[in-house]
């Protein structure tokens, strides 16, 4: 069952076509990645999805309903930058946001207890948000987004500008949430490696969808595997008419897929004394689809 459906969605700002006739769907419980460079139209789509911006044309439904105040209860959003009040404590921030969803008093105390356990917030509840480390702040952001137990968690470039450890902390928190609650995750990112972990990837560029499939299917369709041979002379490949390129101490041979690699190994076993086969990545897919180099 699809929890988000968009059809011919358009969002124009005068002559700027920020989102130009896109259609996609997100399944219940899916980890969905919306991949694109800055300015591709990701955040605009999120704004329309959250009801913050009116659409120019097209349809968008969440849980089968058009966007309204009720569908907002189905959404939790983690913004690119932390939007909590730095001068207030974690608890006060969460209490204020919870009240916006009608959660207060005993219900809030119980929910806070659950979230504290889930995201290890106990020690930082009484600390001002501005005094937290990057990783702690991100955990609080996620806790705020899921305060009201939304069906869909939207992560709008949640790891941009974070150090590797903090990025790992963020993903640990998200994966643990998915595991425990089965929440649908809608991720917008320009990091290829993050999109590679998704169940379903949509690549957007210039406001238009360029590709829509699982990472594996996209790699099969757009990316090449690579065999790297070591201790082989260039002439040996040239004599056999095998195209290659130099890569450090080795020679790289692009091949269609693993089956083609096996065929080549069987055909020229004398060349394969020291070698490795590398699968094509999402960055290759992105480059092939958009003609732009993504970030890894």
């Amino acid at each position: 069952m699809n929890v988000i459906e968009t059809s011919h969605l358009k969002k124009y700002y005068g002559e700027v076509k920020a989102v130009d006739d896109i259609s996609f769907s997100v399944g219940e419980g899916e980890f969905f990645a919306f991949l694109g460079v800055n300015g591709a139209g990701k955040s605009t789509t999120i704004s329309v999805l959250c009801g913050r911006e009116p659409k120019t044309a097209g349809y968008i439904t969440i849980g089968g309903r058009e966007i309204d105040a009720e569908t907002k209860r189905s959404l939790g959003v983690v913004f690119q930058e932390s939007v909590l009040d730095r001068s207030l404590t974690v608890k006060k921030n969460l209490a204020c946001r919870a009240a916006l969803y009608g959660i207060y008093g005993k219900a809030f105390a119980e929910r806070l207890k659950e979230l504290s356990a889930q995201f290890s917030l106990d020690e930082i509840l009484s600390r001002p948000v501005g005094k937290l480390s990057g990783g702690q702040r991100r955990r609080v952001d996620i806790a705020r987004a899921v305060l009201h137990s939304p069906r869909i968690l939207i992560l709008d470039e949640p790891t941009t500008g974070l150090d590797p450890q903090t990025r790992r902390d963020v993903w640990d928190a998200v994966h643990s949430l998915r595991k425990e609650t089965g929440t649908t995750v809608f991720l917008t990112t320009h990091y290829m490696e993050e999109a590679a972990d998704a169940d379903h990837v949509v690549i957007i560029d210039g406001g238009k969808i360029k590709a829509d499939d699982s990472p594996l299917a996209l790699k099969d369709r757009y990316a090449f595997d690579v065999i790297t041979l070591y201790h082989v002379r260039e002439a040996e490949l040239e004599n056999r008419s095998i195209p290659f390129e130099r890569a450090g101490t080795g020679l790289r041979i692009p091949i269609r897929n693993s089956m083609a690699a096996t065929e080549m190994i069987c055909a020229f076993p004398e060349l394969f004394k020291d070698y490795e086969v590398t699968k094509g990545g999402m960055d290759d897919v992105f480059l092939a689809v958009t003609g732009k180099r993504g970030e890894v």
Binding site: Y13, G39, K72, L100
Partner: protein, 313 residues
């Protein structure tokens, strides 16, 4: 209702917790009061004596009238300038993205706007009444000639002026989207408003055309009301010291306790009507601002992002 009160509490907390905004806002009126007394006190004392030239006024009464002028000027200015400072929270929320966080919740944009309005009113009222309290202490020391009715009416004047100041600042700040923008507006308002509303200098000292021009501004009527209610008692007491009624009337006009517009005295009820109507009109303007498509007016497109987007295309 709980959502609304949570938002109002949050906006107030953010303001009071931000020491770089709260303390200057609190201390500025008190510093202003001190500066008024230290630097302008003698100017007004001399001015009072010159208006009553030929008649003997006790020093206590002169102190009381001068004090009334200074305190009334102070609270009249604070009602508007502090409101602009209190609205910093609304503008900061646009800059930080906190506003977007509220808008993705089921809370409507209009309820959010109302919460900013009410919190600005409450914060401004708190600061202004602290300033008025300090002013009352000063008047108690300088010479207390206020009746209970004067105190009540001063409080009423202040509440109305705060409504006017809140609506005025809210309407202006609705169009601001940066810290620099609000800082520039605050600096402009702080430096100009005191002159424009007749707080720093009695209107009667100005050229007739300028005086009439300033009488088109609603804030002037509020300042006139506070002058009347904080100085009126002391001026009445002048009669008890044998000062003729026409001299007292001259004093009232000289110190804007009685405003004149194109030569005619403006009744007190007209002052209240103008002030309340201006507050209501600005409030209506704020409502209109929020009735039109909210996001279009208040969540401006990030130009950098879209320039980048265009380049990529």
């Amino acid at each position: 209702m709980r959502e609304f009160s949570a938002l109002v509490r949050r906006h107030c907390s953010v303001f009071f917790k931000d020491k770089s905004v709260f303390f200057p806002s609190l201390i500025t009126p008190l510093i202003l009061l001190f500066l008024f007394i230290a630097f302008l006190g003698n100017v007004y004392r001399d001015s009072i004596r010159s208006v009553a030239a030929g008649f003997e006024i006790s020093d206590g009464l002169v102190e009381s009238i001068a004090g009334g002028w200074l305190v009334s000027s102070l609270v009249a200015v604070c009602a508007v300038t502090v409101a602009f400072t209190a609205n910093t929270v609304m503008v900061q929320d646009k800059v930080s993205g906190a506003r977007n966080d509220f808008l993705v919740s089921p809370v409507s944009g209009r309820l959010l706007a109302l919460s900013y309005f009410v919190s600005t009113y409450l914060v401004t009222a708190f600061m202004c009444f602290v300033a008025l309290g300090a002013g009352f202490i000063y008047l108690g020391i300088a010479g207390w000639h206020l009746s209970a009715a004067d105190v009540f009416l001063t409080v009423l004047d202040l509440l109305l002026m705060i409504l006017f100041g809140t609506a005025f600042s809210f309407a202006v700040c609705s169009f601001l989207h940066s810290q620099g923008g609000i800082a520039a507006v605050q600096a402009t308002v702080s430096s100009a408003y005191g002159f424009l509303c007749g707080a720093y200098m009695p209107l009667s000292n100005l050229a007739e055309w300028l005086k009439n021009l300033l009488m088109f501004l609603p804030g002037t009527y509020g300042t006139g009301l506070t002058h009347l209610h904080l100085m009126g008692g002391a001026m009445e007491a002048m009669r008890g010291e044998g000062i003729p009624a026409e001299v007292v009337q001259g004093m009232r006009e000289g110190f804007d306790c009685t405003l004149t517009f194109f030569g005619s005295a403006v009744p007190v009820w007209v002052c209240y009507t103008v002030l309340a109507a201006a507050g209501a009109a600005l409030l209506a303007l704020c409502v209109l601002l929020y009735l039109r498509p909210l996001r279009k007016s208040l969540d401006k497109i990030d130009p950098i992002m879209y320039d980048r987007g265009r380049r990529n295309r």
